[in-house]
Symmetry: C3
Subunit: 346 residues, 3 copies
């Protein structure tokens, strides 16, 4: 994309101070901006950068009073942060997800319906009897098995894989390499110590506005559905086992693992690399700090957990503070023991 400063100002209904005919072709932070960059100043903590930035243009507030001369052109608007975010979204949509049409060869199975205005990249695969909504983007190498359902405005990035019978809502984003619907890890031990696979015939259901990160894996249910509820945001390399349910607007950071049949409430936050045992229930608004391992259900809402095994955050912080000084503790104890057996010094 390349626009003049004047064109940007017009879109944002702002006023230009400086040369409106200059061209900008990228967005940047004010401290990293160079010639050709458009940036913004919202937090006045960054104001000093305004006077030495290499940016071609800066979006600033109408009310900003300059304390020094500025090299860059200024675009004055009511709310610089909101205006800049609008540009970011526009940039992302126009340059990265603006593609439409079909690149051949792309596989489309018999009986599958797909809505208008979609993109299907080269080497994308859609199986039989799928129902796919409007404005859906399916990038190259994406795999969509038989009988899948995908809602409007959903984006499926390169090489994401949906096993048969997966259901994806509207406005979802599934990043590259994510796997939805792989067989749950369930085995019946046999008398000779070997294992026999328990058939996994359920599926995975994503409600609307769900985001799944790159290379994340979500197993299908043994029967029924593994469910990710509306608005939940799942980061990269997360493992979600069979029959798990993740509540509305819950956030799960990278490399977290959730064992089979665990139910997580709404508005929860699981930080990175946490682990949850199977068959647990976590109440709404539970927060689990990074690398913690949760082995018990949480019934009370709003609890913060830390540690492996995890317990109350406050108690965990205190215990950890002393843990570091265990050698001191041991020394003090030894001293007391010695003083007990020795005669007290006068």
């Amino acid at each position: 994309m390349e626009f003049t400063v004047g064109q940007i100002a017009e879109v944002l209904r702002g006023e230009v101070e400086g040369d409106a005919t200059q061209r900008v072709d990228r967005l940047a932070k004010i401290e990293e901006a160079r010639a050709g960059s458009l940036t913004f100043l919202a937090n006045l903590k960054y104001e000093p950068h305004l006077y030495d930035t290499g940016a071609t243009a800066v979006i600033v507030s109408r009310s900003l009073v300059l304390r020094q001369p500025v090299q860059a052109a200024l675009i004055r608007v009511d709310d610089p942060y909101s205006s800049f975010t609008t540009l970011l979204e526009f940039y992302q949509q126009s340059s990265r997800t603006g593609r439409r049409g079909v690149e051949e060869p792309a596989h489309l199975g018999p009986g599958t319906q797909i809505g208008d205005n979609h993109y299907r990249g080269a080497f994308s695969y859609i199986g039989e009897n799928c129902r796919i909504g409007q404005n859906v983007l399916i990038f190259p190498h994406a795999y969509i098995g038989d009988r899948c359902t995908i809602g409007d405005d959903t984006i499926i990035y390169a090489g994401a894989k949906l096993y048969a019978d997966t259901v994806v809502g509207a406005r979802c984003t599934i990043h590259a390499g994510a796997v939805l619907g792989s067989e749950g890890f369930g085995f019946a031990p046999q008398p000779d110590g070997s294992y026999r696979a328990i058939p996994q015939t359920g599926n995975v259901v994503l409600e609307d506005n769900v985001r799944i990160g790159a290379n994340t894996t979500i197993d299908c249910a043994t029967m029924g559905s593994t469910i990710i509820r509306e608005g939940a945001k799942i980061d990269n390399l997360v493992q979600i086992a069979h029959n798990v349910e993740i509540g509305r607007h819950t956030v799960v950071a990278a490399q977290t693992g959730i064992s089979g049949s665990t139910k997580i409430g709404d508005f929860c936050v699981l930080a990175g690399q946490t682990g949850l045992a199977g068959h647990l229930t976590l109440a709404n608004r539970t927060t689990v700090t990074a690398q913690s391992g949760v082995g018990k259900s949480i019934k009370e809402e709003g609890v913060f957990l830390q540690g492996s095994p995890a317990f109350n955050l406050r108690d965990s912080l205190r215990a950890n503070a002393i843990f570091r000084h265990l050698p001191d503790l041991e020394r003090r104890l030894s001293q007391l023991e010695r003083s007990r057996t020795e005669p007290e010094k006068p």
Copy 2:
């Protein structure tokens, strides 16, 4: 799939009580079953659900005595659980892995032999001089490098990747996105602090009945083979480094990482998110609990390990129980110290 209750009963050699002409098109748990669902009752703990289930039909024992009237049709068999499992397997095979033939375009390199009755999905890739058995399913986007060997009845799901020279046994399942044979992580430090890659010329060998989870990675050996022995079950997002060996019927849960050259015995269980250092040996029937980190070899069979660093489970549970109360411990110690320096109260 859609069958009448009568057809199901015939397959299972059962007897129908109720309307045998009704149709069922899915399998469900008794507490989640709705119209159109076929379910079963094996554990009598669930009997109350029998009288209010929404299922169209329920598989029950011939010996079951009803205590109330039942809406659903009943199919009476000798062993409801076993009959239902048979149906689950049938469902999985017919609807998900029943495909045969070739979807073009699919790449098949020169010199490669492949047995009868196979499926090769669109955009699947098989390199040169491979030997592939009968009844093998190779889903779309699967990649099989040159000189690979794959045994009979093996399933390779969408986008799984086998580097050149990988050997896979019979009746294996490799889930979507798994990578077998990537170069081991071995580097020789150079005088200037940089690293030079040590060539990795070995391969990965899976024996029969091995299961590899979605997006799991298994590096090839530096020389020789990284080996997963018969019947081992590996979950999703597991990392298995170069020259590792995993014993027969060993289970490795999700997100576990096993460092280079470590040998794990038969019938072991590694729970989720565990880590194993390199060059270790774990005896048969070792169990490692979730999130543990094992840094030493285990020579005795049947040991349970916990913690990071891991030690004996029993001792670890005791140490953790006190860890939570470290602030109390510190307080008690301080009190003793004070009482030591203060005169004893009479």
Copy 3:
């Protein structure tokens, strides 16, 4: 590959003792070598294997004095280890990465330039307006989005995915299933508790000689670049969040996760399954042991860290040593308390 012992000796400028017409077709460790194998003896600790190895030929030092008769043919060279490494590299290059040309169908977008002597596998995808250097290998199912740049001699293995605008230097290796440039995990909480995605418009930049492991994920920057500097080696299943920077010749082992905006210095080592919080700075030559979780910046160079939360390795080892004996500690404390309240025995 299949060569006679004489041919190998000629390449290595070595001298044969024994039958130079025998054929070898694989490389092996001396203790695992069988008929047809070529192996080497560099470390004299392994000399006993020389006298009972099943290898067809062994590369040994010119100065080695035999203490027993040897069955295998010997190839005498100045430096057996270096000669063998040369063969390993030759084997890897000739058999695994020696392919050139284009396998159709392969997608090449308009406006893209690609240098001489490259390989593009079947079903590989290269978008629009990319600039790709010479001798580049792009394996089947690799995805390279629009406007990417790739330097000379870089290898992109099967199914690796580069989102639009990714920059990769020269002599890089990107393993199968790795994802570069997925959207950073950034969300603005809304008044109703839901989240709105913050547009992620930056990219990922790999400098020269970088190695990325299988199924590793690297998010693009919100603005600007997520940067992996020259010579850094990243293992499998690593998560690198938006705006992270990893220094020159830093090594990151498998399943490590690095949170947003953290900057890691040069020559650092992060062992397996470590986690780093966001917005940290780690000085050059920092070492973090396996499964540790770093929550604070490290300003001093050369520090070793352990634990979750991590602190100085030496202190951590001491604290862990006592942790195991916490039940003892508690018992000793209780005893002191009892003795305090009981009258002292005479």
